[in-house]
């Protein structure tokens, strides 16, 4: 488990894929009770969105799909905020490069988030996600 204080990401299972194919990788995120993270589409411009990016390498990012965020009202905001709470899953659609080297490898993802509870906020953090790969 790549862990920080309030958010953890389950280590992804090894993926085996052929060159030129597209794969879907699920990233289960576990958030400590009482905390929320801003969604990928925050309600206010000053809020830091949730972002999952994959480093350039054997996999090319086609898209990253987030679940539907909740709208939650907090004491510190006049309007409900678009957030994720509890456990949720992010799905990445990745294409294995046609010229990627075959054999075992690793893709590196970075999940940037900014968490708050009902009355305070934690600085933005980045969790690294290591995806073991076997390219055929």
């Amino acid at each position: 488990m790549a862990q920080t204080s309030v958010l953890s990401v389950a280590a992804p299972e090894k993926v085996t894929a052929k060159r030129g194919t597209t794969i879907e990788v699920k990233t289960p995120v576990l958030l400590k009770s009482g905390y929320h993270v801003n969604s990928h589409t925050p309600s206010e411009s000053y809020l830091i969105p949730l972002r999952l990016t994959w480093e350039p390498g054997p996999l090319e990012t086609i898209g990253v799909m987030f679940p539907k965020p909740h709208l939650e009202k907090y004491e510190f905001s006049a309007t409900p905020l678009s957030v994720f709470t509890g456990n949720f899953e992010i799905v990445s659609k990745l294409k294995v490069g046609a010229g990627a080297a075959t054999g075992p490898g690793m893709a590196l993802g970075k999940l940037r988030y900014q968490a708050c509870n009902h009355n305070s906020c934690l600085p933005p953090k980045v969790v690294e996600i290591k995806l073991p790969l076997v390219i055929q």
Binding site: Y46, I48, F76, N119, S120, C121, L122
Partner: protein
Amino acid sequence: MSSIYIRVLVAACVSAVLLLSACNSSNPVNAAASTKPEKDRKLAPEFELKDADGKTVRLSDYKGKVILLDFWATWCGPCKIEIPWFIQFERTYKDKGFAVIGVAMDEEGWPVVKPFVTEMAINYRILQGNDSVAQLYGGVEALPTTFLIDRSGKIAATHVGLNGKDDFENGIKKLMEGPGIVQERASAGLPGRFIPAVLFGAN
């Protein structure tokens, strides 16, 4: 029987009064964090940070004043609630030996902090914070984290998270009544002038 009835009635009334007073509190989030007794206060760590003009500012520059030291960031919702209160405190008490210092903890620095300061019309000094200074103040993991510092430079109260406006203001007033003298010059048509307590050897 009537005695039991009266006792139940009294207990119900007391509960109702307590409940009402809790609901009326202007500190809806945190329990009141009153200032510590003087003997329990520790010296606020000295720091050196830059303001928006690039000028070096030290905590000791404010020696003799009551200080509200606020660690905040532009991405912090609860901080945005407190900032207008601090603007008001600065306006109300700045001539009475009080100052607000905001320490911005944004990693992106002035390019994001300066526009925010303008947008919020912040009238007190903002400094660009860093991890070293945060560590001096216990790490400052959660924002806002606010310290009330007395005139002898000691931390009298620490608030982590959104706090009540009245709680801050009561603390400020209490600390301003502490050692130190505000020389009223109203009779001369001049603003009150603060004479730091340290000049008089009070500590």
